[in-house]
């Protein structure tokens, strides 16, 4: 069975909510919709205080080429445009909407009927995806329409749909594949058409045999779609790792991007959103979010409107356990601990993980024993111990030379370190600083 070749680790899967069907979460009283829910320039608000909006009304416009529109997830009145701390801990601008009823825009097709046929041209599809504000829903939140517009000279020959969900605990994509397989397959067909390719792979790790079986059966009716079971290994969901695993091509170091080796990778959640946007005229304003944790009373998967505060999801999953140590937005490997449960759900929120006191304690940092486990674990072939040391000494030139910008921040190095060194903390600082230096240098040119 296939998998990626360099590095990787095997954290315990802990998929507690894998057998819990997706439930529709009640509407929040107030939706707080951040303007920066994607990589790139924040969107610009186009509604004012007091404006009355419906579900699916465009409330913010893309602020640049790499940016995405934002749509209201509720109907009601815009209360204010103010700042709110997001998962990063810093305050970002957001639109606050007080919910009144649940009135949708008339253009949205709310029926459940499956619409298979799509007669649009590739350009029309990309325009529709752009107009629905779709971004990568695996967590990186890169605007999807930008991915479908290859830079001059590059041409894709396949689309890879990422159903790997290698993060422990999270089951949002797994449940979506089980409950909306045909929609995902139609979405994949649409993505193939938009990217002008006739081959698509849906990659699923073999710890989800039910999803592999179901999609393989349904895929028989769709031309050019192949289901690829993969051996379980973290971080297989990383774009470059997935391309390596599925089609055995290696993406060179930045600034090269996956399209340079002919592959476009999209998450299953994105494929589903594309289906809804193109076939049902429904912009992206809700997503599946896993709420889980060993002490959580009812680990669940919720279909949640964007802008719902985390506290409401935690409440619906049985409330915050008494021994809560950390609340993480995302999964345990790449997620971020949040400082407040009022942080709203965004387009990229795949899960909420509540760790108990014991789990969340970080072990004391010990000296590096030069065992090189981090080097063998790094899926990008970097030397994490070296990057961490150089970052700690603020030797930015060397940090850059050691390819810190290739780091995908998967945390495999830190997971595998027997000395419990906080490698990723140092590397993240190095990456942030070097990124700033590179930007400043490019601006000068």
């Amino acid at each position: 069975m296939k998998t990626f070749k360099i590095g990787g680790v095997h954290p315990a899967a802990n998929k507690l909510s894998a057998d819990k069907a997706i439930e529709v979460l009640a509407l929040p009283k107030q939706a707080i919709i951040p303007l920066s829910q994607h990589i790139g320039a924040p969107a610009k608000a186009i509604v004012d205080k007091g404006a009355v909006v419906k579900v699916g009304t465009k409330i913010a416009e893309a602020g640049g080429f790499v940016s995405a529109d934002i749509f209201s997830s509720v109907s009601g009145k815009v209360m204010k445009i103010d700042t709110i701390p997001d998962a990063s801990g810093y305050r970002k601008p957001a639109i606050f909407i007080n919910v009144e009823g649940d009135e949708w825009e008339e253009t949205i097709d709310r029926s459940d009927a499956l619409v298979k046929e799509c007669d649009l041209t590739p350009e029309e599809i990309v325009a529709k995806i752009k107009a629905a504000g779709i971004v990568g829903m695996g967590g990186a939140t890169f605007p999807t329409h930008v991915k479908l517009m290859p830079p001059p000279g590059a041409k894709a020959d396949c689309v890879i749909i990422n159903g790997v969900e290698c993060e422990p605990y999270l089951t949002a994509d797994h449940r979506l594949m089980l409950e909306k397989p045909e929609e995902i397959l139609v979405g994949t067909t649409i993505l193939m058409k938009a990217a002008k390719v006739d081959k698509a792979y849906i990659a699923i790790e073999n710890n989800k045999p039910d999803a592999i079986k179901l999609l393989s059966e349904k895929a028989k009716d769709f031309k050019g779609i192949e289901i690829v079971p993969l051996k379980v290994k973290y971080p297989q969901g990383g774009e470059k790792q997935l391309i390596d695993a599925v089609v055995n091509r290696q993406v060179p170091a930045p600034p090269a991007i996956p399209i340079n080796v002919g592959a476009i990778v999209q998450n299953v959640g994105t494929a589903f959103a594309v289906y809804e946007a193109v076939q049902k005229n429904k912009p992206l304003f809700e997503r599946v979010v896993t709420v889980t944790g060993k002490s959580v009373a009812k680990p669940s998967n919720f279909l949640t409107r964007i802008g719902t505060p985390m506290s409401q999801l935690i409440e619906a999953a049985g409330g915050q356990p008494e021994d809560t140590g950390k609340i993480i937005s995302g999964g345990p490997m790449m997620g971020k601990a949040v400082g407040s449960v009022e942080v709203p759900i965004t387009k990229g929120s795949s899960g909420i993980l509540i760790m108990n006191d014991k789990e969340s304690k970080r072990a004391e940092e010990q000296p590096c024993i030069r065992c090189a486990k981090c080097v063998s674990a790094c899926p990008m072939g970097l030397e994490p111990y070296l990057l961490a040391t150089l970052s700690a000494h603020k030797d930015w030139e060397s940090v850059e030379k050691e390819c810190v910008m290739s780091c995908i921040e998967c945390g495999s190095c830190q997971f595998t370190c027997p000395s419990h060194r906080y490698l990723l903390d140092y590397i993240r600082m190095g990456k942030t600083t070097v990124g700033g230096i590179i930007r400043a240098r490019n601006a000068k040119k």
């Binding site: 990063s88 810093y90 971020k336 400082g339 970080r362 903390d425 140092y426 600082m429």
Partner: protein, 316 residues
């Protein structure tokens, strides 16, 4: 015997030839260095802190000599040695030392454990740079001090230390040379190198929070809410409010202390002033040192509404 003799002679000959070659080379390829550079370097503190903006004391000495040749020592200052050392340097170079006023590092955050309650716990590496890059910090204020002590580690003079009670860095006025290493080390740019002021007296806005007033109020008891009272009360135009935070221009400030009185949040601090007289209308210039160390009674001030009135802060 013969063998030993041959060895001694041949080695001796090699040594002699090498010595001659080295001597000739040192004459032929000698690099001329202005002797004044060494003289200037001799009077510098040799701390090599880089506070002057040059790579170490020798680099600074070279820059001074170059500047003297160009005609002026304007802008050249060794922050460690201060005016005294610059006068010596000027003497060596036969120039007039540029007039400089002493400066000092000030910490513009008063978010102690008491004033700024913790809402989260940061358990990463104890480094402000990392804490800033990976999280918003432990409190509701994303602009304030992170308390991991990067500034303390950066100081080569032992002039800054963390106060365990407040969790904030404190600058030792005697030791601080205003080299600026701490200001550079602080990822949140809280530390500023400011004029020390006459008799060490200065007014500081101890806050850099750019959030709106309501958010600041929630996060910290002594944060600047940009209400604008200080700007209004200042007769010298020294106070400006930009990005929701007040700033006092030390060059324009006449140390009248009106802004300190006007500030409803006690964000503005008067440093090194003697305690105020317990009189409602204090003379604008510093009161004599005879004032009793008691708190001024709560009295309504000119432009502040009575309900906001709180005691005037005693400052040390």
């Amino acid at each position: 015997m013969n063998v030993i003799l041959i060895a001694v002679i041949s080695l001796g000959a090699i040594g002699l030839i090498a010595a001659i070659v080295l001597y000739l080379a040192s004459k032929k390829f000698a690099v001329y260095e202005d002797p004044r550079i060494n003289q200037v370097a001799a009077v510098l503190p040799q701390a090599n802190c880089g506070g002057c903006g040059y790579p170490g004391c020798n680099g600074f000495a070279g820059a001074c000599v170059k500047a003297a040749d160009a005609g002026s020592l304007e802008g050249k200052l060794c922050p460690v040695g201060g005016a005294a050392v610059m006068e010596k340097v000027a003497g060596i170079l036969g120039m007039q030392a540029a007039e400089t006023e002493p400066r000092i590092a000030v910490v513009r955050c008063n978010g102690s454990c008491e004033n700024r309650p913790r809402i989260a716990e940061y358990d990463g590496v104890r480094s402000c740079a990392i804490a800033n890059a990976t999280s918003g910090g432990e409190t509701g204020c994303t602009y304030g001090c992170l308390g991991c002590g990067d500034c303390v580690a950066a100081c080569k003079f032992g002039a800054i230390h963390m106060n365990p009670e407040t969790g904030l860095p404190e600058v030792d006025e005697e030791k601080c040379t205003a080299c600026g290493a701490c200001a550079k080390a602080c990822p949140r740019m809280i530390i500023e190198i400011r004029l020390k002021g006459k008799k060490g007296r200065r007014m500081i806005v101890k806050c850099v929070n750019k959030d709106k007033g309501a958010v600041v109020n929630k996060a910290c008891a002594v944060g600047c809410i940009a209400c604008g009272k200080c700007e209004k009360v200042c007769a010298f135009g020294a106070i400006t409010i930009a990005n929701n935070v007040s700033y006092i221009d030390a060059e324009k400030c006449k140390l009248c202390r009106k802004c300190e009185e006007a500030c409803p949040k006690h964000t503005i601090h008067a440093i090194n002033f003697p305690p105020r007289k317990p009189k409602p209308e204090v003379a604008p210039e510093a009161a004599p040192a005879t004032a009793k160390p008691v708190e001024a009674p709560a009295t309504p001030k000119v432009e502040t509404p009575a309900k906001e009135e709180v005691k005037v802060n005693e400052s040390k």
